[in-house]
């Protein structure tokens, strides 16, 4: 195993709504991100991907609350640290987060360079503006963005350019881990490809040491991630290499997801897409047993009543289902 830059053990966080209801959107999640690797997180919308991303930074503000578990970032335990301390010593420098739709949240009255100044000055208030400009220009050059972008307002940039700018700014302080949440979902395919190429280049160019990439688009995830975690209703239901997750999924939900993949490649037309019927459970009152049981083709009577842990399948692989690997694979191959 390589050196872990981020280790999360049994992390649980919850939202407390205005009506004082608890929503456990991240429920006993453990993960490990190694240096040089990209961890992918998949799952349908509402399963808790963005909440997990937020929770990983150890920096909580209402309505999101920490419940239990630990986060070790660069060998340092950040859970239990004061929010202010995390903000000063970790955010942006050790861990950076590009929220979903970040590019539409840019301040329209600020030029890109002012935006970068804010980011850097928040971290180091005495930095000289000339140095900041030089740093920004050099970073943009390595990342293949024209320096002219620095003097533009967000509205002057195309969607793809805006997103690449957001990424460049997010890594300007060389964070160890970058979390990219659906970074290309709103873009057309060509801009998406440019964004992905840039993200994949960040590690090679020494901007970051590891990445967490979140998307519900599986072909995309497959091409970006080394390992994939599939989330369902706040829990991890499968951990595997990208290849295993796509071509040999174990959990029935992962299997269903992989059966919904659409690519313009020969053979696709003869495959029947599998739709997963129904909807995920309400996270205010998650079922006691397997959370996927309601929608599962392979459901057993005990699935609905007993808590299903994440079983270790060896070699870093894990899945949350009471059926054996053999039974599942046979069911997928020969029908149930």
């Amino acid at each position: 195993m390589g050196q872990a830059v981020l280790e999360v053990n049994d992390l649980t966080t919850k939202y407390i709504t205005r009506f004082r209801e608890d929503i456990y959107a991240v429920d006993h999640v453990s993960l490990r991100v190694e240096e040089g690797k990209t961890l992918g997180i998949a799952g349908e919308s509402g399963c808790g991907k963005s909440t997990l991303a937020l929770s990983l930074m150890g920096y909580y503000f209402p309505p999101l609350h920490y419940v239990s578990g630990e986060i070790i970032l660069n060998g340092r335990k950040i859970t239990g640290m004061k929010p202010d301390e995390i903000r000063k010593t970790a955010l942006g420098t050790e861990i950076a987060y590009i929220p979903q739709a970040a590019m539409n949240a840019l301040n329209p009255t600020q030029k890109v360079i002012n935006f970068i100044e804010d980011v850097i000055l928040a971290h180091n208030p005495t930095q000289d503006k000339k140095d900041i400009y030089e740093l920004a220009r050099a970073s943009f050059e390595v990342l293949g963005l024209p320096a002219s972008v620095l003097h533009k307002y967000p509205v002057e940039l195309s969607g793809g350019m805006k997103q690449r700018t957001v990424i460049a700014v997010s890594v300007i302080l060389r964070p160890t881990v970058l979390i990219a949440d659906e970074p290309s979902s709103a873009l057309d395919v060509t801009s998406q490809k440019m964004v992905i190429k840039m993200l994949k280049g960040l590690m090679e160019n020494g901007f970051i040491k590891a990445m967490i990439f979140i998307t519900h688009e599986l072909p995309l995830l497959y091409n970006v991630a080394d390992d994939i975690m599939v989330m369902y209703a706040g829990q991890i239901v499968e951990k595997a290499t990208a290849k295993q997750a796509v071509f040999d999924p174990l959990h029935p939900y992962s299997k269903g997801l992989m059966g919904s993949i659409i690519v313009p490649e020969s053979g696709l037309r003869s495959v029947k897409l599998t739709a997963i019927p129904g909807a995920p459970p309400n996270l205010k009152k998650p079922p006691a047993g397997c959370r996927f049981a309601e929608r599962c083709k392979y459901v057993q009577p005990e699935c609905k009543v007993t808590y299903v842990p994440l079983y270790d399948a060896g070699n870093g692989r894990a899945y949350r289902c009471i059926l054996s690997e053999k039974t599942l694979r046979e069911a997928y191959q020969h029908g149930w």
Partner: protein, 270 residues
């Protein structure tokens, strides 16, 4: 299969120009097409290529600047309100953003009731109408009892899109135009929506016109694919022909830009 079937909608030299002078945009530029009965056709292109404009022309929501549309062999005539109403019994649409398609002040049962009335069912007994609405909801796995008295905005995006399909089930048009019907819902629910659309096509034998930027989706659902680049159809043919053996550089680029799982996704092209 297209060869033996009757042409239901076709166009010659269809063109739409917006604005003039410096703001002049040729959104649709002299396109010719023949869509056949029962066929699934996709129109694929990048954003801004003119797909939605063409869809609006096909629906009769805007007039072409030039060119003719033929419906069932006859030159289409929708010059009067009545003729338009008649035409819309034959052609219906589902749009990208399901929320924009409903009058938010009308409850769901009245949305469905309108469909029955449009098909001439105004004088049917109430119980029969309820049965028809319930059947349409069942078709897309919605529960009619749970929808009555609700407003469209109380539904999730996926439920809304299914309600749209339930409407089409009641309207039974000859042609259904779906403009990016799955781009607002996540990849996981997409298969469900596609399944319902294909089932619906089989159930009522309509022509399905998919408008999409997703070439993988076009490949999966269509018999015939038209590729649109800057207002023009640059290539068309059977789905296998166009996707597996593309002739135009533009088509090849569209295909190369989407991530693959069997072949290498070449990032060096951007």
């Amino acid at each position: 299969m297209a060869g033996e079937k009757r042409v239901c909608l076709s166009g010659m030299g269809v063109t739409k120009i917006f604005g003039f002078g410096r703001t002049r945009t040729v959104a649709v530029d002299h396109v010719d097409f023949k869509f056949h009965e029962g066929e699934v056709v996709s129109i694929v292109g990048e954003s801004g290529s003119g797909k939605t404009t063409l869809a609006k022309i096909l629906l009769g929501l805007i007039n072409p600047t030039e060119g003719e549309i033929y419906f069932q062999g006859q030159k289409r005539d929708i010059r009067t309100h009545r003729k338009k109403q008649e035409y819309w019994k034959n052609i219906q649409a589902i749009f990208q953003d399901p929320f924009s398609s409903y009058n938010i002040f009308r409850k769901i049962d009245s949305v469905l009731m309108d469909c029955i009335h449009m098909r001439g069912g105004r004088w049917l007994p109430h119980a029969k109408k309820v049965e028809m609405m319930a059947e349409a909801c069942r078709f897309v796995n919605l529960k009619f009892e749970e929808l009555t008295n609700k407003y469209p905005f109380e539904l999730s995006g996926g439920q809304m899109q299914r309600l749209m399909i339930a409407r089409i089930f009641l309207l039974k048009p000859k042609i259904l135009l779906a403009d990016e019907p799955t781009s607002m819902i996540d990849a996981c629910s997409r298969a469900t929506i596609l399944d319902y659309l294909m089932d619906l096509r089989n159930a009522i034998g309509m022509t399905l016109i998919f408008i999409t930027h997703d070439i993988g989706l076009a490949y999966y659902v269509s018999d015939t694919v038209y590729i649109m680049e800057r207002g023009r159809f640059v290539e068309y043919g059977s789905a296998d022909e166009v996707i597996l053996r593309p002739k135009q550089a533009y088509t090849r680029r569209l295909i190369s830009d989407v991530p693959k799982i069997y072949e290498e996704w070449d990032l060096s092209t951007v």
